[in-house]
């Protein structure tokens, strides 16, 4: 194509340089990359996907099937960018990669934002229908968002010369745009595509911002912004897409949709040397007339229909254009690079050749209903336009303009206002509607009816060059093969031929594929339908969907109030859900095992200290709190005296263990519930679920306070002395402060309002002191000072594991599985026989009473100090696979206290197999032998916890 010296909407005073495949070119502000390339004479953009044929730009909009490129800017590279939607900017650099993209490592630092918005009326598409709808809604005073994919509003007005109320349609559009821009209740988003429709009128909009700017202008702009919009009503004014015609060699650079050819003329002043029109309808005559008026030679109009009386056709005749009725393009001829040179036209009087460099094709228009179809909106086949039109709208939605199947400008203006009135009525605002919107299109001239969707048979019978889907290289021959193979359904045609599976999802291919299938199988097109539409409408960049929630913002990293102290203390941290917790406090020159041994020895022989702040803490209170906790825990909570605590387990409805923890009674109607770190949120959810769904009338209040209170555990035979030193007002003597006691509102380390409890997860005499979160460092330091005569030692999770494994204490989720009941892990004794609780019923199921269930046992490693890896399988019969699996190692450690390798395991029928020796094959081919023992390895009588 060539650039005309006058006309168009480009700014010739603002030339922009860009590179294409490394070569420099110049375009103008107002160009897209597609128009800039066409204007620069670049018409072959790349080669097709499987057949290696040259391809060029075939449209000017969203329906583009071949014009794609890898665009590099700011160091990152974006694949498969649609050239027809990319505004030219200074320094743009693109590579013609039209069928597959490339990824590189440089994009991760870019910024993509999100916004969330609500509105009363969301209008999608700012063509004449969308503009009139948005204006009507705006005047009614409701909150409006108008979305337009293009960089400017107007839609078809940008390519068509028509008048509205005596003014140029384009000027009318500009005045509407100005009105909307001045209205405080309306937001207009251009370069924004409504891509994904959700239930209840949720819509995802992708707005290109920095991605449309030269590198120097981007500043802090995000590349794109994702809008989550929830709209009370939606008006789909998404227009219609022009359909190509299928005929031999219809894929050359130089073939283009007729509407696109017109758009390039009116917007970017691009025209061919000699154009030819091939059409099934009157609209394409507008392109011929536009060329003619711009002084471009029109070599001929090939119209498949007989002559008629429509006004547009008459104007073409009056202009002296050569119209070939009842004729078809049956082939094209290209130059050495494949670019169009001439077309072969079969006329009633014989085949003629027309020299041309641009064939503008129109197979008719069809509503762009992708969003409607995403939620399976109903459609029906409309034979008058040869395509699907909406049969009904989705709740809260209206469809206006060409998207409704009514294609004229007058229809667009009228249905736009009607849709707005419908939406406003739905909002209860109809009384405010200005009924005098002067939306009358002046050109009501009659058009002749279009011919149905068309495939031109190849004169030589070779259908391998008649393309249905230019992006996927799918041809008529491919569809024929599918039908011959037995394929009938359009979705199978798609999967057999890959029609519609490319970047543009076959926007211009689907109807042709369906009508071809209908013809080949002898069915009406209405019976064949078209393949479904999966969201999104336009591809959404991964990074856009991810937004900024990456790296540190991916998920909160939770640390305790003591984190910096731990770091200063040489702590090595591990991931515990969202938390970071110390595994151990390494000293210089110490091996990991040495560290754990040292920390364990401190706990067993003197005193050790741990940050237990991540422990889940829940305040449960209210008159019904005792009753409520009785329902959730397997043992009786309501009988716990004030100031005392009880260890318990809660179960799922199927009787399997959900979590364990210690419940402390603070007051008659107040409990302090602890959970394991990993289940803190789940237990709160669980409580709320029961309260809200089953017992809403019960007076119970559940408050998670994990991050309000920091908790420090002080364990070991000397722990009582340390506590006594920091809390001199509290009598922590053996008699006055027995195991499972709790006092609240005492002063510890000078911190008023502290809580001290006697609980133990190590089997040793142990205390937990809880203070307001920010006071934790004060408490920690005071404890270290008070414990220094006993060489108080901080310990981490590794030592905690060893200590609790030695005692046979389980960790829910590690020593239990999804199916483990309290009975399986030796906690049946907790279960009260006096009351019901959640899960109890399921224990009666025979499957939950079998004696070959996986049961908790202890084990010791025989003849070795090696620690068995956690997760290792256990078998009674070592040999070649398959070996029977008798269980697995759930917890395992080196016990410095007992000077042996030991652990816990879940073993089939394990309770009855104590003493048995099993094998644990290792990944390196060796196997360890383990002997099953009682789970409590150390201090089985539990005497040490009393100090």
């Amino acid at each position: 194509m060539k650039r005309l010296t006058n006309g168009g909407r480009i700014d010739r005073s603002r030339p922009l340089t860009f590179t294409w495949n490394g070569e420099p070119f110049t375009g103008f502000a107002g160009d897209t990359l597609a128009s800039a390339l066409l204007g620069a004479g670049v018409d072959v953009l790349g080669r097709s996907v499987t057949l290696d044929r040259p391809r060029g730009v075939m449209s000017a909009g969203l329906e583009e099937a071949t014009g794609f490129a890898q665009v590099t800017s700011g160091g990152s590279s974006e694949p498969l960018v649609r050239l027809t939607g990319l505004p030219l900017y200074e320094g743009l650099s693109a590579e013609g990669l039209i069928t597959r993209g490339k990824l590189d490592d440089h994009g991760a630092a870019a910024r993509f934002d999100k916004r969330y918005a609500h509105c009363d009326v969301l209008v999608i598409g700012a063509g004449p229908a969308g503009l009139s709808a948005a204006l009507a809604a705006t005047r009614a005073g409701v909150r409006v968002i108008l979305v337009e994919a293009d960089v400017e509003v107007g839609g078809a007005l940008l390519r068509d010369e028509e008048t509205i109320a005596g003014a140029r349609a384009l000027d009318w559009g500009a005045s509407v745009r100005q009105s909307l821009g001045l209205a405080t209740n309306t937001r207009v988003l251009t370069a924004t595509i409504a891509s994904l429709l959700m239930d209840q009128n949720g819509v995802l909009l992708a707005q290109r911002i920095g991605a449309h700017l030269a590198a120097g202008e981007r500043g802090l702009h995000p590349e794109q912004r994702l809008w989550h919009v929830r709209a009370r009503t939606i008006i789909l004014a998404t227009g219609a897409l022009e359909r190509p015609i299928v005929f031999p060699d219809n894929d050359r650079p130089g073939l283009m949709l007729a509407s696109a050819a017109r758009a390039y003329l009116r917007r970017q002043a691009l025209a061919p040397e000699r154009g030819v029109i091939f059409t099934t309808n009157d609209d394409a005559y507008r392109t011929a007339l536009a060329w003619h008026e711009a002084g471009v030679a029109v070599a001929g109009i090939v119209d498949v229909r007989p002559a008629g009386g429509g006004a547009l056709r008459q104007r073409a005749i009056d202009a002296g254009l050569a119209v070939h009725y009842e004729s078809e393009v049956v082939g094209t001829v290209g130059d050495e690079r494949g670019r169009l040179q001439r077309v072969l036209v079969r006329t009633p009087t014989g085949t003629i050749t027309l020299e041309t460099d641009l064939l503008a094709v129109s197979g008719g228009y069809e509503p762009n209903l992708n969003l409607h179809l995403q939620l399976r909106g109903a459609t029906r086949y409309d034979p008058s336009i040869g395509a699907a039109v909406p049969a009904a709208t989705l709740p809260g939605q209206w469809i206006a303009g060409a998207a409704s199947g009514q294609l004229t400008l007058a229809d667009a203006l009228r249905t736009g206002v009607e849709a707005a009135h419908g939406a406003l009525a739905g909002l209860g605002r109809i009384h405010t509607v200005d009924r005098d919107l002067p939306f009358a299109a002046d050109d009501e001239s009659r058009e002749d009816p279009p011919a149905p969707s068309l495939q031109v048979a190849s004169p030589d019978g070779d259908e391998t060059r008649s393309f249905v889907d230019l992006h996927r290289d799918a041809t008529v021959a491919g569809v024929q093969r599918a039908v011959q193979a037995g394929v009938r359904h359009i979705e199978h045609v798609k999967r057999f031929t890959l029609v519609g599976t490319g970047v543009e999802q076959g926007r211009t291919a689907r109807t042709n594929a369906a009508s071809l299938t209908a013809a080949l199988t002898g069915r009406p097109a209405a019976d064949v339908g078209t393949s479904g539409s999966r969201p999104p409408y336009e591809p959404l960049t991964f990074h856009l969907l991810a937004g900024r929630a990456l790296g540190e913002r991916y998920e909160p990293r939770r640390t305790t109030a003591l984190h910096q102290l731990h770091e200063a203390n040489g702590a090595i941290f591990e991931v515990a859900g969202q938390w970071l917790r110390p595994s151990r406090y390494a000293r210089v020159g110490e091996s990991p095992r040495d560290t754990v041994v040292r920390e364990c020895q401190a706990a067993r022989q003197r005193v050790a200290i741990m940050d237990a702040s991540t422990l889940g803490k829940i305040d449960v209170r209210g008159p019904d709190a005792p009753w409520f906790l009785d329902q959730l825990y397997v043992n009786v909570i309501s009988t716990i005296p004030v100031g005392r605590a009880r260890y318990s387990v809660m179960c799922h409805v199927d009787g399997t263990i959900l979590d364990d923890g210690v419940v402390m009674r603070i007051a008659e109607q107040q409990f302090f519930v602890t959970t394991s770190t990993g289940h803190a949120a789940a237990v709160v959810d669980w409580m709320e679920e029961w309260l809200q769904t089953e017992w809403p009338a019960k007076r119970v209040w559940v408050t998670p306070i994990t991050e309000q209170l920091a908790t420090i555990a002080i364990i070991g035979p000397r722990s009582r002395e340390v506590i006594a030193a920091v809390a001199p007002d509290v009598d922590v003597s053996r008699t006055e402060f027995p195991f499972h006691s709790v006092v609240r509102n005492v002063t510890a380390a000078g911190i008023a309002g502290s809580q001290i409890a006697r609980v133990s997860f190590s089997g040793e005499l142990a205390f937990e002191v809880s203070v307001p979160w920010h006071e934790a460092p004060t408490l920690w330091d005071a404890l270290l000072v008070a414990g220094s005569p006993h060489d108080i030692t901080p310990y981490g999770l590794d030592a905690l594991q060893a200590l609790r494994i030695e005692k046979g204490f389980i960790i829910v989720g590690q020593d239990t599985e999804a199916l483990t009941t309290p009975f399986d892990v030796g906690l049946g004794g907790l279960v009260s026989q006096l009351k019901d609780c959640v899960g109890r019923r399921s224990w009666e199921r025979p499957a939950n009473r079998r004696d070959d269930r996986a049961q908790l046992v202890g084990f010791t490693v025989v003849d070795s100090h090696e620690v068995v890896p956690e997760g290792a399988a256990l078998t009674r019969a070592l040999g070649a696979p398959p070996m029977p699996i008798d269980g697995h190692v759930s917890s395992s450690c080196w016990s410095a206290t007992l000077d042996r390798s030991l652990g816990l395991a879940l073993v089939r029928g394990g309770r009855g197999r104590i003493g048995e020796v099993l094998h644990a094959p290792l990944l390196d081919g060796r196997a360890l032998r383990v002997q099953l023992v009682e789970p409590v390895h150390y201090d089985p009588k539990g005497e040490r916890r009393h100090g």
Binding site: L103, H228, G486, P535, F542, H679
Partner: protein, 392 residues
């Protein structure tokens, strides 16, 4: 240039339904087609129909993420999956159809010690059963899958990975075509556009199905409509302990190859493979509400892509071309039973949990429970908790 995918010249007849069949399979997805094919091939039952309300494969068959693997935990089910995986390797020849089965290696990433231990447990169990499994340390992962971000600075650093080298992907559309063609060739009638609207009983014995294409008599009926099992069972007058959820997936544009294995992250809820054609195929966690609508919540997609970019920064500019949801049938605690249940005489059902429905199916109609008179539940017991090591 892309290699053109070549389909065979003939797939299937399009027969009118006969008055009756020895067996009517309800559901023309992968499980239904596989059941029919193996009934015909291994058991000589040729008077079989598959009735499908839409088009063959239009449910989860075209919505799964094409992952094939046998690295499951439970002793009871491992042989089933392993048998299945071995059959996948044989299908290309047996079905004479290039289903593009590609055992490129399935990599399960661990992000914490606790998760690593849970994954190692699967590796240990698999090796006991003779199923391949390896444990990779981060340095090995870098060699095996270079695009994974192994930096210790990411929010949840990768600490190791379990690898099943024989796991991989297959082309889902091709598997539908292959099984359907093979069943058709053995005389199975594949009846599409035929929705079951009711069941006929003589006492409690099923005698036929009512369909939108008329009544079809049946000696036996198999319900193989995963994703709609509760609806079908309800229509037949019995309850199943199953709830259905959307499970979303997405594909990207077609891209130059960047990924040559199938890495999965259970903790971050994302797994991805790159199809032969070049698109990234990605799966996520299932949605948390019950639904039969084949779409899910966009928040799940956003979270999934956050996870994807955490692990694979190279995917920043890849784009979501299409997204959808399959419907997975889930038992309340995730399925764990495989024994026969006396639901209704001579009906059977195949329903799976997320993993099961995500995968192309076990081609196990022939074994170990070959008769559709035996209820069969394709099931995976739950993995051990991979939540963090909870601590005290």
């Amino acid at each position: 240039m892309e290699h053109a995918f070549h389909n065979p010249d003939f797939l299937w007849r399009n027969p009118e339904p006969r008055a009756s069949y020895d067996v009517v399979i309800v559901g023309g997805g992968l499980h239904g087609l596989s059941t029919a094919y193996h009934l015909a091939k291994n058991h000589g039952m040729r008077n079989v129909a598959v009735v499908e309300r839409g088009w063959l494969g239009n449910g989860n068959a075209v919505r799964n993420t094409t992952v094939v693997r046998s690295n499951y935990l439970r002793e009871e089910s491992m042989p089933l999956y392993e048998f299945s995986l071995q059959r996948w390797a044989l299908w290309r020849e047996e079905l004479d159809f290039d289903i593009l089965f590609d055992p490129r290696g399935l990599l399960s990433l661990a992000h914490s010690t606790a998760e690593a231990n849970a994954m190692k447990r699967v590796v240990y169990a698999n090796r006991m059963a003779g199923i391949d499994g390896e444990w990779l340390e981060p340095a090995d992962i870098a060699d095996f899958c270079p695009i994974i971000n192994l930096s210790p600075e990411i929010r949840y650093p990768v600490v190791g990975a379990a690898l099943q080298r024989r796991g991989g992907i297959a082309r889902h559309d091709a598997v539908v075509f292959a099984l359907a063609r093979a069943a058709d060739a053995l005389g199975v009638d594949l009846i599409q556009g035929c929705e079951v609207t009711g069941f006929d009983f003589d006492g409690n014995r099923v005698t036929g199905v009512q369909t939108t294409r008329g009544r079809i008599g049946a000696g036996k009926v198999g319900l193989v409509g995963a994703g709609r099992t509760p609806l079908l069972a309800g229509m037949a007058g019995f309850d199943v302990p199953i709830q259905s959820y959307p499970l979303q997936a997405l594909v990207s544009d077609i891209l130059e190859p960047v990924l040559h294995c199938v890495p999965m992250s259970g903790m971050l809820h994302v797994y991805v493979s790159q199809a032969h054609k070049g698109e990234l195929v990605m799966g996520a966690a299932r949605d948390t509400y019950h639904s039969y609508a084949q779409r899910g919540s966009v928040q799940i997609l956003e979270h999934q892509l956050q996870a994807a970019l955490e692990l694979y920064p190279i995917m920043s500019r890849a784009r979501m071309l299409r997204t959808w949801a399959g419907i997975v049938d889930v038992t309340p605690t995730l399925p764990r039973s495989s024994g026969a249940r006396p639901w209704t005489t001579c009906t059977s059902t195949a329903a799976g949990e997320p993993g099961a429905s995500r995968r192309p199916p076990a081609p196990d109609g022939s074994s170990p429970t070959p008769s559709p008179t035996v209820p069969r539940t394709t099931s995976t017991p739950p993995s051990p908790s991979i939540a963090s090591r909870p601590g005290c």
